[in-house]
């Protein structure tokens, strides 16, 4: 044996392409690890706080200029709490739009045309940081004004169609991004709440979003049932800036809400009043289930802007409706809508039946 250093044993050859395949799989493995942790935690914690499936379902009918439109719709909501701080929630809107042309059209078509739409309205993760702050990430309802976030649900809205200015500040109604929200100040007679959000631009199918930022601040006086506030939204690429003020008074059987908003394309306002005939009879009596509703609204077009989801011309509308709250979370709605201006049909009738469901899993 010689006195020199023995030759180094050659390293075992690594199969060609292994390193590149591992690098390609790392993001998937990381995502699966996160999903593993979350899934295990949800399963373990769900015994005390089970997820729920809730939402609204309904069948809506509208007659306008002799043509009839039918809309079967279901808007399920899934909410899954996790631990003491997390909530994962989502809402979708699945609806059909079935139209029957007016006999006056004269084209001989006596059948129905049908289209079906599915929309992911929100898919968000909420984290309760403390009593004053909640962090939200994902796809959420644009928190502008009073209608989009709080009143747009199928089983909440007093009419089948929202206010004509409801697109101001929210465009399609949804945003992808992050949000801070909470109650900044709580006193027995005063609450101050706030929302701040940042939305990103997205062209992903079903997750479309416009670059925007905005916020809302509100004051609630519980003793008087009165609240008011304002919103702002900045969308550099589309529509420019939007501002909004809103107010609401809910006391006893009265429910009055209103809003005024403006955007680059126009401005408008609405006021809505509802009165539940429950005084002296109780909400479960035959008459106590009845709720007349009235709404007046207008929009003034300032400059033409394509794709802002607002009427193309000035429009004024007065709506009369009656809601009847049947047992088992059912609601019957009849409404008469009268429009003035080139932006809408002169009159239309609405008839709808909605159902609110809530099921723990």
């Amino acid at each position: 044996m010689s006195g020199g250093v023995s030759p180094r044993r050659p390293r075992r050859a690594i199969r060609p392409g292994f390193r590149s395949r591992y690098r390609a799989a790392r993001p998937a493995l990381a995502g699966c690890l996160v999903a593993l942790i979350l899934l295990g935690a949800v399963v373990g914690a769900s015994a005390q706080q089970p997820p729920i499936v809730s939402g609204g379902a309904g069948f809506l009918a509208q007659t306008q200029a002799g043509a009839t439109y039918l809309q079967p719709v279901i808007a399920p909501v899934v909410a899954a709490p996790l631990g003491e701080h997390w909530l994962f929630e989502s809402r979708s809107d699945l609806r059909g739009f079935i139209s029957h042309p007016s006999p006056a059209a004269g084209d001989g078509n006596s059948g129905y045309d049908a289209q079906f739409f599915g929309t992911l309205e929100y898919l968000q993760a909420d984290y309760l940081v403390n009593s004053r702050l909640t962090l939200v990430a994902g796809r959420f309802l644009s928190p502008f004004g009073i209608f989009n976030e709080r009143l747009s649900a199928l089983w909440i809205d007093k009419f089948q169609t929202g206010p004509i200015i409801s697109a101001i500040g929210v465009r399609g109604g949804y945003a992808d991004g992050v949000m801070l929200r909470g109650v900044a100040l709580t006193r027995p007679k005063l609450q101050l709440n706030y929302v701040l959000y940042e939305a990103v631009q997205s062209a992903v199918h079903k997750l479309e979003s416009t670059r925007a930022e905005g916020g809302r601040a509100g004051v609630f006086l519980p003793t008087f049932g009165l609240e008011f506030g304002g919103s702002f939204a900045r969308s550099p690429k589309v529509g420019g800036d939007s501002e909004d003020v809103y107010g609401a008074w809910v006391r006893g059987d009265w429910d009055v809400k209103g809003e005024a908003a403006r955007a680059l394309g126009g401005r408008g306002d609405w006021i809505q009043a509802a009165y539940r005939l429950a005084r002296g009879r109780g909400p479960d009596s035959p008459l106590g289930r009845l709720e007349p509703v009235w709404r007046w609204q207008q929009f003034h077009r300032v400059r033409p802007m394509a794709g802002d989801f607002l009427p193309g011309a000035n429009l004024r509308e007065e709506d009369y409706g009656v809601n009847y709250y049947l047992p088992q979370n059912l609601r019957l709605n009849v409404a008469y809508l009268r429009s003035q201006g080139p932006g809408g049909a002169p009159t239309s009738w609405q008839l709808g039946l909605t159902y609110r469901f809530l099921l723990p899993l």
């Binding site: 899934l39 729920i52 909530l87 309760l128 609110r356």
Partner: protein
């Protein structure tokens, strides 16, 4: 030798599927491990002695923290806060209350203290 007509998956997709299956299996195992331990088989809850000889029926246990004035305050806060937007549900299962109240706390901007009392009202 690859059978005729078989197209192998891309390697990244194979890795992803394998990782998902592994994660699912581990998650089910981990979720089971996080549940509170079951009572040993055959064990029965302790029974208070009855001076008359037989077992004394156990009185119904009142939920911790659910004082009558808190439940009353919770009902008042529920009608005041939730009534701003919608009519109250006709029935709400206590099992669903936690998720509902948390969702409404975030979506309806409820103060934390109000949310706690409303939850006690639903579960009381």
């Amino acid at each position: 030798m690859i059978p005729l007509g078989f197209t192998p998956w891309p390697r990244a997709a194979t890795n992803l599927v394998g990782a998902l299956l592994l994660s699912l299996g581990l998650a089910l195992t981990a979720g089971g491990a996080m549940r509170p331990p079951l009572r040993p088989a055959g064990a029965s809850p302790p029974v208070a002695a009855n001076p008359n000889g037989g077992p004394r029926p156990r009185p119904p246990r009142r939920k911790a923290g659910a004082k009558p004035d808190e439940i009353e305050a919770g009902e008042r806060l529920f009608r005041r806060n939730c009534g701003r937007c919608h009519t109250p549900p006709e029935d709400l299962s206590p099992r669903a209350a936690a998720a509902v109240v948390r969702q409404m706390r975030i979506r309806g901007l409820l103060p934390a203290a109000d949310a706690r009392l409303i939850l006690l009202y639903f579960r009381g």
